[in-house]
Subunit: 621 residues, 2 copies
């Protein structure tokens, strides 16, 4: 039997708004909320198709059969004209049905309608938003828009323009900058003294004629591979849209050390990486804005997280000291540059919040992950792991949180593996080997395999070990089926035959064992350092793209994770992005994150006693 | 008998450093402190001449006769080789003589020497520094330079570069900006972790390799006519050098209203006035720096004052609302722009302090004047007057301070007067008419007169009134000596005959009466408003160039000032500049000035009851 896997990619699929125009007669409009996208229709249309035509990719595992129950939407108009189907009744509670919730695939729409798309039903939503509810509970943006209708200055009321605003808001401590002051007098006089002002704390940073606009936040997680961007409605903390884009720094090296090396060649090289990163953020933000009818000038506030190298790159801080021992960052303080000085397109006067980094190899993405995952909030023994080229691991025990960074290498991203590739169409993403040696593959895009990505590699090694194709010393059994010798006489295991055979060599297996060994050594050292053993672990929280797709039982199978009951393992997707969204929506979250960072102890692995022993033990198959 | 007048001009006479090189043999060097200027001499030289050759203009009323006692200097080397002369003994106390103080004119120097020039002995010093001692008592600059010798990062001590600085200074609240962070890592590593940092409050704004430099402040008073600049040693509040330069805005109108009109033509016109002003400040600061061996990068902090129009021009704030009723400023708050955003050449990261303005026609120069003159510090009934095209007047009574601005016009600056001119060479600056009608003139530069400046005009009108050449209605007596009729049959009084006769016409007299009437109306309304009469006035403090040169008895004679005992009138020169220097040298002064501004009530004259009556009474001769 072939296992059915659901693949939800970081490739965010929200397309641009398609404004279809039908014939003048007999058309109707479907309006999708909260994005406000409108779809003009000439003929009756299925709900799932309508969303797709409007560029909204709802989750649909069953392809519209009504069996997976994922494509839930809410009818905001005439819900009573759409009696629930059997499928609706099976997947949606009575309460929700009464509120107009239906499966999109069960709907047939033939007149004007208004449909609300919950975050959880959108492909991007499920991936990118994990602790969504937390965001809504804690909305307290640092930026506030206020509409003012002022009395006009006259000879009996001679106070200055800005004093008039301070008096109106009854705030003596209000201050502003020269740019805003320069706009103020004509703005007031040309708009009948009816204006909007934007404040951050006690600082007025922008003013415009009064108009109805939303206050928008931009959250960014600059990963080494991908940059994930989110537009937030700062009125309610809701994610309006999201988009991922490849990190253009990849052109200067797949791994961080290569990019640090490039940056060390000179100032112009370092600035090139900075400008490329900012350009990618600007371009992605622009596309997201256009998608929901906004412009970058609507962006009032920004939060950007990333690992320490990314953090230094997007702030154009020197990275030389990150590239050589002892690998110290320039600063571990939160920073508040203006969007302008970084060149991020946004509202004039908008600020950027760059949360603290913790150490040379533990960045603000790790902090954002721990915050989003609720570290520091309870007393459970919890392990937090964000698997990547560098894997950051935190262990919380009795009020202490200790973090390490371990150089797990890019094997799980498919690098340094003969047929390794990124998680893209044609990649083997899951592997099953039956007792009798029959191999089942899950390939992204349901096509012939052209390579194998991280989760597939993990599966393959784990399954080869289970079926004893791999022995306890990590050697491929030359006599096993599907194993042949390459030109150098080394064994390789063939996963897929056909036009392009895909194999896993002994060298590939060694890479994987080194990678998982580094991770396991980090975990074991943390447990040793804090004096616990694996029976104490109450939860393992796994973040990141690879971590979300891998099968935890396989990660335990090859010894990457300690063996604990499966139900104690929780995967939370891009938690760093979630943390960034929480921080752009809430100054409380910023404060809490800064409190959290003071509690995180950094442990340098390479100087830990018996590090070599832990590592040697970790790489065993 | 001809009265001897001492003229001390705003034309600051400190020249550039003249580095004279003598023959290789038999030369010696005189080093002047605090400026560090060195003079190479081949032959023995008189102290006064040496200072002059070094570009330092000592006050010398007697021309080196040893009778005026003004050219006091201090010998820092071999004072015992210069026994005090009789003139020294007459003018200098024994204590001071023991400390090496001598009259420069009494010294003969024929070997290497080091000589300290006290501020009070320099021409600029006497003019520009009036409350000098106050400055030295209250030094507390907003900028602090600290030298750090840090321990190097290593694997056992992994904190970030900036955390290392915070730890060293034991200041958790220290923050910094991206520009400084960008410099920090290479700076530390290339200079053996031995650097200097500059802080403003808790903010590090600049860092350099460790080196011995002074911390320098720039104080600027942007007057409508002249811009006065001062370089201050922030270690001790001493004025190192000063320079005045014409305000280049004059090209766009002598009076403020003309310039406001020009700025209203468009943004580029307004920006032109901004850029011209900043350029003049930069140019003057550069010349001052070169004079004492510094560069603009040595300037750590800046304070700029000016009337409200000047304030808005130098900050590039819109001036449209200052040009039309009700004449409101953009803001009356203190502002703290960066020097960079204004384009003022200085240390990277340096800030500008722009003290509050009070109203559309009462600027931060008035506030600085009142602060420097000690308003608000005692309970005396005091009148403060800064005479200019707009004359600002403040009256302090029982803890209240009320200020008005009165449009006195430019007559006292020589404008709108037929032979009127600025106080420059060839201007009649003082006039005496004897009982028998004989006219004595004091002319700047001791040359044939080519016109008459403000103080001369005041003298002339006052003396004409005393000698009844002018009657109580302000009419020139056509039958008086030296009076003739012009082509229109109007009388004019001839002050000087010769190649270019200088006359004062009835129209000229009318202008003066209008000007003094405006000032007197302001004074009388203030007294009326606060319920006092002239017997209550305990002191009149007069600031500004014209105010310092005019004879107060003549100002009382024509009714510009109320008649009070002469000893109750105090002139204090450019008090606004003194206030600016106090504020650049001391955050306490900034705080005290901001406290003072909250206590100043602005009174709008034009809406005051019976304003017309007060004005009509004021202009009477």
């Amino acid at each position: 039997m072939r296992v059915v896997f659901l693949r939800i990619g970081y490739e965010l699929l929200l397309g641009c708004i398609e404004q279809k125009t039908g014939p003048d007669f007999m058309t109707f409009t479907i309006e999708f909320q909260p994005n406000g996208i409108r779809l003009e229709c000439a003929n009756s249309i299925n709900g799932l198709d309508a969303a797709r035509q409007a560029g909204i990719e709802l989750i649909s595992v069953c392809g519209g059969e009504g069996t997976c129950g994922k494509c839930v939407v809410q009818l905001l108009s005439d819900a009573d004209e759409h009696p629930p189907s059997d499928a609706d009744k099976k997947h949606i509670t009575i309460n929700k049905i009464e509120q107009g919730f239906r499966l999109a695939c069960q709907l047939t729409i033939n007149k004007n309608a208004k449909i609300y798309i919950p975050d959880g039903s959108i492909i991007e939503g499920q991936i990118l938003q994990t602790d969504g509810e937390d965001i809504f509970q804690n909305v307290c943006p640092s930026v506030k828009k206020t509409t003012l209708k002022l009395s006009q200055a006259n000879l009996q009321d001679l106070i200055s323009d800005f004093s008039r605003i301070k008096n109106e808001l009854n705030n003596k401590d209000l201050s502003t900058d020269l740019n805003t002051l320069r706009k103020l007098p004509p703005l007031l006089r040309e708009n009948d003294w009816h204006i909007d002002i934007w404040t951050r704390g006690n600082e007025v940073f922008h003013a415009t004629p009064h108009q109805k606009t939303r206050s928008i936040g931009l959250a960014v997680d600059v990963g080494s591979t991908k940059i994930a961007c989110y537009l937030m409605d700062l009125a309610n903390g809701r994610t309006l849209t999201a988009k991922g884009t490849p990190n253009p720094q990849i052109a200067f090296g797949e791994d961080i050390m290569a990019r640090l090396g490039y940056a060390m060649q000179g100032t112009s090289q370092a600035e090139e990486l900075f400008h490329l990163t900012i350009h990618a953020i600007n371009q992605t933000a622009l596309e997201m804005c256009q998608r929901i009818g906004l412009t970058p000038e609507d962006i009032d506030d920004i939060c950007i997280v990333g690992n320490t190298a990314m953090h230094h790159f997007f702030l154009n801080l020197p990275t030389g000291s990150l590239a050589v021992s002892p690998f110290v960052p320039v600063t571990t303080d939160p920073l508040y540059p203006s969007a302008k000085e970084l060149g991020i397109n946004s509202k004039p006067g908008a600020g950027v919040y760059a949360p603290p980094v913790i150490a040379g190899f533990i960045g603000s993405d790790h902090l954002a992950f721990l915050y989003a995952a609720g570290f520091g909030e309870d007393s459970r023994v919890r392990l937090g792991i964000d698997i990547g080229t560098n894997t950051e691991i935190a262990l919380q025990v009795k009020g202490r949180i200790v973090s390490v960074s371990t150089a797990s290498g890019p094997a799980f991203e498919g690098a340094h593996i003969k047929y390794g590739m990124r998680a893209a169409n044609g990649a083997i993403e899951h592997v099953h080997i039956s007792e009798n040696g029959e191999i089942s593959l899950q390939v992204i895009g349901d096509q012939a395999p052209i390579g194998i990505c991280g989760s597939g590699i993990l599966d393959a090694v784990a399954q080869m070990r289970v079926r004893e194709i791999l022995n306890h010393r990590g050697r491929i059994d030359k006599s096993a089926s599907n194993v042949k010798l390459d030109k150098q006489g080394k064994p390789e295991f063939t996963l897929a035959y056909g036009e392009k055979p895909i194999t896993l060599s002994q060298t590939d297996v060694d890479q994987i064992l080194l990678a998982k060994g580094a991770i396991r050594a980090g975990i074991d050292i943390l447990m040793d350092h804090l004096g616990i053993d694996l029976s104490n672990i109450e939860e393992i929280v796994i973040a990141g793209a690879f971590g979300s797709y891998m099968l935890p039982e396989h990660a335990m199978g090859i010894g990457m994770l300690p063996s604990i009951p499966l139900e104690h393992i929780k995967t939370i997707g891009n938690a760093a992005g979630t943390g960034a969204r929480m921080m752009v929506a809430s100054t409380n979250s910023r404060r809490q994150t800064e409190d959290l960072t003071k509690r995180i102890e950094y442990l340098e692995l390479t100087t830990y006693k018996d590090f070599d022993m832990f590592y040697a033990r970790g790489i065993k198959a």
